[in-house]
């Protein structure tokens, strides 16, 4: 088997004629932090949606440990150990923080079909072990004091932490983060950077879309730059940073913004 845990090869995704992703390829090594950057509307989120099964790309392959997972149902992809957060936070707003994180334990829970109706000693043990894991994650993400509070009532920064805790509760092999620093203040971003490092130290591979250049450059070992659905550059942060094509793409998009 190759050293790459995830191999995306020649993937294209169309929306009614619009090319959202255009012949995109990349390889992610186990244990790596892999950054994806690009101007707004470049197709970064669409790529994550293709990996996690929300969209099925028309062309190409998405190989997870050598097996094509393209078009699999999202729940099956999560069962494989690929968990994600969302750019537009998607929590179970009315449910408590603890219950939100507990959803991450779903695939780890060993309850049998009849445990929805009758409790058994094995069920009781399973339930307890999973709640304890939720407790550990709340400690790790400094969420303990909000355990019973509906997730939707909390601030943006805290909600981002809940989403990461929820994904991590499933003990992922690959954690996919879509703009984890969006909407965070400077302190929160600093904290997040440390948290992501700690998660990597646990042995989790991380893919991350981020507009905060300082953060993405400091964390990533390798970066792919996307514009208009296609790869325009890739390499280590120091290379990508100075690549004229990348600078051009960002300046181009800035000018567009000014025109609006």
């Amino acid at each position: 088997m190759s050293e790459y845990i995830l191999e995306i090869s020649h993937v294209s995704k169309y929306f009614q004629g619009l090319v959202a992703i255009n012949d995109l390829s990349m390889k992610v090594k186990k244990g790596q932090i892999y950054g994806i950057i690009g101007p707004n509307g470049a197709g970064k989120t669409t790529l994550f949606n293709c990996i996690t099964g929300i969209y099925r790309p028309e062309i190409g392959q998405i190989l997870w440990k050598g097996k094509d997972i393209k078009g699999s149902n999202p729940y099956k992809i999560a069962e494989l150990g690929i968990l994600r957060t969302f750019q537009t936070i998607r929590l179970f707003a009315e449910m408590s923080v603890a219950e939100n994180i507990m959803s991450g334990r779903h695939i780890k829970s060993k309850q049998r079909w009849y445990n929805g109706v009758i409790p058994t000693p094995a069920y009781v043990r399973d339930e307890k072990a999973n709640w304890e894991k939720v407790g550990e994650l709340m400690d790790f993400f400094n969420l303990t004091e909000y355990a019973t509070i509906p997730a939707g009532d909390l601030s943006y920064g805290i909600q981002r932490r809940i989403e990461m805790a929820r994904a991590l509760a499933a003990e992922p092999e690959l954690l996919i983060l879509d703009e984890p620093a969006a909407g965070l203040n400077e302190n929160e971003t600093l904290e997040l950077t440390q948290t992501i490092r700690k998660i990597q130290e646990m042995g989790v591979t991380i893919m991350m879309i981020e507009h905060d250049m300082e953060m993405v450059m400091s964390l990533s070992e390798y970066i792919t730059v996307i514009n208009f659905g296609a790869k325009i550059s890739e390499g280590v942060p120091s290379f990508v940073q100075d690549d004229p094509v990348v600078i051009e793409a960002y300046i181009g998009s800035d000018e567009e913004d000014e025109d609006e």
């Binding site: 999560a78 069962e79 408590s96 603890a98 219950e99 507990m102 959803s103 929805g116 004091e145 019973t148």
Partner: protein, 316 residues
């Protein structure tokens, strides 16, 4: 530790337990039907309040249980006791076969499809398919429950049997809410995409909700047919389905006390205003409108955050 809700629950339990001692037979029958309808409404709430599936054909599952008992007893002479298991299993099987092909449909589309099933069901009953259902008049002369030579034939017996059935249902619902299965239904209800992305098989858990809900409604149907010793199609038509649907929303989706209150408001209150004849249905309509305006999440809404105590230690 005792909280307010458990105290109210115990007071209510004691009241319901002694209820037959101080009412006449007419009110006893209302009490029994209240218990049976509560069971049906709770089972509707598994599908609607927990899994969040807009299902408006629940009277069909209720009717399938009732007719299974009636047909097996009246046409085939089986004792009532022997019809209990089929009365639960037949609705479960029908739920699986009918709902599996449409479970992926979005809210409003699925709503229409479930109404369609209910209408077909009534047509089948009224046209006396295979000569088993007795057509528009239904079936009469359903036996009572007999165990070892003892007949549970009085209205008081009926009441306590329904009381036990409600107890079992509440036991099941509590377990459901405290298991991975009930939680998965809530996650799907609140955000289907997020739920899927956490590894939840949406199709499986929606079907689970349907099949479990159908089985419980079937048990209530069997009880209902024995209570009245007769079944007829109009007790299971779309209007009844609308009532069960409404009970859940008026009382409070996914809230056990809410659904019991909903059943009381939508079924017992109109009985209290019986002397006003059809005007009593005014209560029905007014209650629906007022609740949706004043308390859109129901009279007694669900409260989340029922987590183990050891996780609440750090809460400020």
């Amino acid at each position: 530790m005792m909280n307010k809700t458990s105290l109210i629950a115990i007071a209510l339990l004691v009241f319901m337990g002694f209820f037959p001692l101080f009412v006449d037979s007419a009110w006893l029958a209302v009490g029994t039907t209240f218990l049976v309808f509560s069971v049906v409404a709770l089972s509707q709430d598994i599908i609607l309040g927990r899994a969040g599936v807009f299902h408006m054909g629940h009277a069909m599952f209720f009717g399938l249980g009732a007719y299974t008992t009636a047909i097996l007893n009246v046409n085939f002479g089986l004792p009532i006791l022997a019809t209990w298991a089929p009365a639960v299993l037949v609705p479960m099987l029908v739920a699986f076969v009918m709902v599996a092909p449409i479970i992926h449909l979005r809210g409003d589309y699925l709503l229409v499809a479930t109404i369609g099933f209910n209408i077909i069901f009534i047509q089948v009953l009224e046209n006396d398919i295979f000569g088993l259902t007795g057509g528009p008049n239904g079936l009469f002369g359903i036996d009572v429950v007999r165990v070892l030579g003892f007949d549970f034939s009085s209205q008081t017996h009926m009441y306590y049997m329904a009381f036990i059935l409600l107890g079992i249902t509440l036991f099941i619902m509590r377990n459901l809410d405290k298991s991975k299965f009930g939680r998965a239904m809530f996650y799907i209800h609140k955000d289907e995409i997020a739920a899927q992305s956490m590894g939840i098989n949406v199709r499986y858990f929606k079907l689970y909700a349907f099949i479990l809900g159908a089985g419980i409604a079937g048990a209530a149907g069997s009880m209902f047919s024995v209570q009245y010793s007769a079944v007829s199609p109009e007790a299971f038509n779309v209007t009844q389905s609308i009532m069960f649907f409404t009970i859940v929303l008026v009382g409070g989706s996914a809230s056990l006390p809410g659904v019991l209150i909903g059943t009381f408001v939508m079924f017992v209150l109109p009985e209290m205003f019986r002397e006003f004849e059809t005007a009593r249905y005014l209560v029905f309509g007014v209650a629906m409108i007022l609740t949706m305006i004043l308390r859109p999440r129901g009279i007694w809404p669900v409260r989340f955050g029922n987590i183990p105590d050891f996780l609440k230690k750090g809460v400020k």
